[in-house]
Symmetry: none
Subunit: 133 residues, 4 copies
């Protein structure tokens, strides 16, 4: 699992991390029992304060997506798939809709919007080394 942060995004870093875990579980790129990177390791990797990672993991634990095994680490919880599917579907649909309505408000035609969408779908498969890995 590879994590990436966009510091200019409207959603704060800790939420971006949590979303990435939720989506990975929903897409079955992570499965119950999988170990997550340690707070310190991930914090170093994405150049962020350990507290930020910690807050994301804590929130996911609260939701039942992760569980901590004391002295061992954080793991994807058994019921994570169900939880994340619901959560991911909701948030993804909502953000897609918001983005589309914005594009409409900005005067783009439906065709222009669909073209952009297809391009983005294609971009997801092609150029980058991982992210879906």
């Amino acid at each position: 699992m590879h994590f990436e942060l966009d510091p200019r995004a409207p959603t704060p870093p800790s939420e971006q991390l949590a979303d990435q875990v939720r989506f990975a579980v929903a897409a079955e790129r992570m499965a119950p029992g999988d170990r997550l990177p340690s707070v310190r390791a991930l914090a170093a990797e994405v150049r962020v304060n350990p507290n930020t990672v910690s807050r994301a993991w804590r929130e996911l634990e609260r939701e039942g997506v992760l569980e901590s095994r004391r002295g061992d680490g954080m793991f994807v919880a058994a019921k994570a798939l169900a939880v994340c599917r619901k959560a991911a579907a909701r948030v993804v649909a909502e953000r897609l809709e918001r983005a589309v309505l914005e594009a409409c408000a900005a005067g783009l035609t439906n065709q222009e919007i669909e073209t952009l969408v297809r391009a983005a779908c294609a971009a997801d498969l092609a150029p980058r080394p991982r992210k879906s890995a």
Copy 2:
């Protein structure tokens, strides 16, 4: 021109207002020379502090989208269309792409994504009489 704020959106109110003006100009629902609602009037309408509106207008003035005529009001600037087209295209494409990549990461198929997008496009036309009204 009608303004609306979503207090639960990730972007702060002042930015939402600025975006709505940028998009309206890009979509030619507002044209150079048009007068904007006064700071106080709009603040009252969308239930926000006048400073918040003021900050949005000020930012747009800096970008060349609006012009203030002292003691008179704020007006869409002559070069606003060009500025807003560029800005709106950039931000809209970026947000659409982000939303689509998120959807991909959450495991939606391209077909599911396109279905959601078409639904959102349709939703824009349907429920309200006319966005341009």
Copy 3:
């Protein structure tokens, strides 16, 4: 870097602060990577409201002169020197020209003007230990 406000000046405090940063960078008294005083500290030092400092810093961030690192502070941006040189040269030349034309309009001879200018140049070196200190 030392900041000073003239409450009787025609330009508002927040602009005075922004100008002082632009000029300091243009004169290379500040360099990319330098940390700026915190909003609260500077506000206390020059006896203004923190919002006033914040507005100045924000404007400079928009111009590419400063970068904020969340929870850490404001820093001079990499491209600040180029930006500030251009901006400072423009504004300084404009204000000097305006002042000189005013002096001409008020009937001062060129010689009187140059005498005043030389005196002011000298005054900059003399009374204070060092402007750059």
Copy 4:
């Protein structure tokens, strides 16, 4: 006497107008007894609200620079020269000094400053049709 307003200048329009009268009297381009343009005429010429002109004239009357002859118009007062010379010298010297110190702060050398000053002095004599007329 020709008036000109810079809407982007830091000094408000009414003060700009007042300054232009003070300077014209100090430079003896206007003499005691000269008639000033009517409020409405000047307001139309410089595209400003009549109240703005009115406020400038009122302030100058208060200072003893102008005197109104009821039903006739505003005229340069007898003691205007003395008043304006003092006022103009003070304000001009102050603004010149401020501009020079700013230029120093922005890193210009004394030589660069003097070059700009000489250019501005020359510009005053050469290109424009009037202003000293």
